[in-house]
Amino acid sequence: MKSFFCVLSLLTLALLLSPIVMPLLISFSTFESISFPPQGFTLRWFANVFNYESFMNGFLASSSIALVSSFSAIALSLPSSYVLYRHKALKMKGLMESLFTLPMLMPEIVLSYMLLLFVCRALGVVSLLSLIVGHMLVVMPFGMRVIYASLSNLGVDIEDASVSLGRDRLGAFLEVVLPNIKHGFVGGFLTCFMVSFNAVSISLFLSYGEAVPLPIAMLNYLQIRYDPTIAALSAMLVVFTVGLSAVVEKTVGFVSGVR
């Protein structure tokens, strides 16, 4: 019975991981199209990725958008998490907690469409700013969750102790609270970064001429052809994002980072 479950679990794992491994397999193949078994060895497709301007620009655009939006999301989550964490007797605390994480339930595609409709079309704002704000709205609940969790884990006692020992409020916050939640910062920031970097529909709806994030460049490329260039790019992205997630794992652990 035990071995039956073991085999079944390994099969499920194979099902989950095979789509991620496939690009790695195919990206070194000399064939022009996807075909099995992969033959030969070439780095041509990797060179293609670096020579294709849209991918390079897309990577730059995606990472700068992710950097700015995650940074602002964290900067905005900190004060709101701090209030929720300090004030035990806050009115409707439960409601506020869920309001801050509720946007996670909002389908990204609906949120993107609403932003397109009300910000881009009605107000006529089509710029990098709307793209960044859109990404920030998508990632903020994730950042809020991690920061709030690490503040709650810290507890209020240590801050109160330093205040009762004569430190003023601001000093206690800067020198006692912040250093103690720095792992939360790193983890929250990286989680936000990854969510933003991987977000497709928000970029699809809000991107415009000059700033085309990487996923959109990939979608556009896939509409033209299916050659292993995309596989090479995917392989690099897998290595990049899995590497980043290893850092998240080291700092906060997956479970608090993901849900």
Partner: protein, 242 residues
């Protein structure tokens, strides 16, 4: 032209009451239900096994299940294209083993879409189930066994009720996710198997009909929220009923 004018009700009715929309809506629902069923079938044994294994095995499986979550859904869908395509892994394996005369069409079907979505959302079913399984004590299962319950009876009467809360959380994430997913159905389902979110994009990008797009967005949101509310309610009833 923009949809927040007073005649939105009639636009909504016109968008929703037509054959195309109804068929797309039914397909979206069907795909969601199939994916949720497949995920339950796979996640329960996995969570049961991982929940009662050694810490090393546990952390191995946890990490392995979490890794895909960090990878772009676009990349994961592309991986499925490599597996399911005409010249893909599955077709070339089956033809090489002479199980198939010639490649079959798997990509751009509902099945491909379901596989992609299953892989996309599986961790969200697994995580809450695993934590429910970890809270399930070995003594309870031993008690059931010593009282003469077989594995199936133990599952129905003990394991399932005790993990129901986690299961419902997973179920609602999967159903809501399938109703709103965009990239995976686009790349794996193809134009003929459109889902609600693809229809929404089509209204904006090709048909330039903002009223209909808003109506579609609203129906996606209503679907997601009503599924969530219904499942939360069912969970409360089930927990109280015991």
């Amino acid at each position: 032209m923009i949809a927040y004018t007073s005649d939105f009700a009639s636009t909504f009715a016109r968008t929703v009451y037509n054959e195309e929309f109804v068929s797309v809506f039914l397909r979206t629902t069907r795909v969601g239900i199939v994916v949720a069923m497949l995920a339950s079938l796979l996640a329960y044994p996995l969570a049961y096994y991982v929940g009662r294994s050694s810490p090393f095995v546990k952390s191995f499986f946890k990490t392995a299940v979490f890794i895909p979550l960090m990878v772009n859904p676009l990349v994961r869908s592309y991986g499925w294209i490599i597996i399911l395509g005409r010249e893909g892994l599955l077709n070339s394996m089956l033809t090489a083993l002479r199980l198939l005369e010639e490649p079959v069409r798997i990509l751009y079907t509902e099945l491909a879409m379901e596989l992609g979505l299953l892989e996309l959302f599986f961790p969200f079913m697994f995580i809450p189930l695993l934590s429910a399984m970890e809270n399930l004590s070995e003594e309870t299962l031993m008690a059931a066994r010593s009282l003469g319950a077989g594995p199936i009876r133990t599952f129905i009467n003990i394991v399932f009720p005790l993990t129901l809360k986690g299961y419902i959380v997973g179920l609602s994430v999967i159903l809501a996710g399938c109703a709103a997913a965009f990239v995976t159905p686009t790349l794996l389902g193809g134009f003929r198997n459109r889902t609600l979110s693809m229809l929404l994009y089509e209204y904006i990008d090709i048909r330039l009909s903002w009223g209909a797009a808003t109506a579609t967005a609203l129906s996606i949101m209503l679907t997601v929220f009503s599924v969530n509310i219904l499942l939360t309610y069912l969970g409360k009833v089930a927990v109280k009923g015991r």
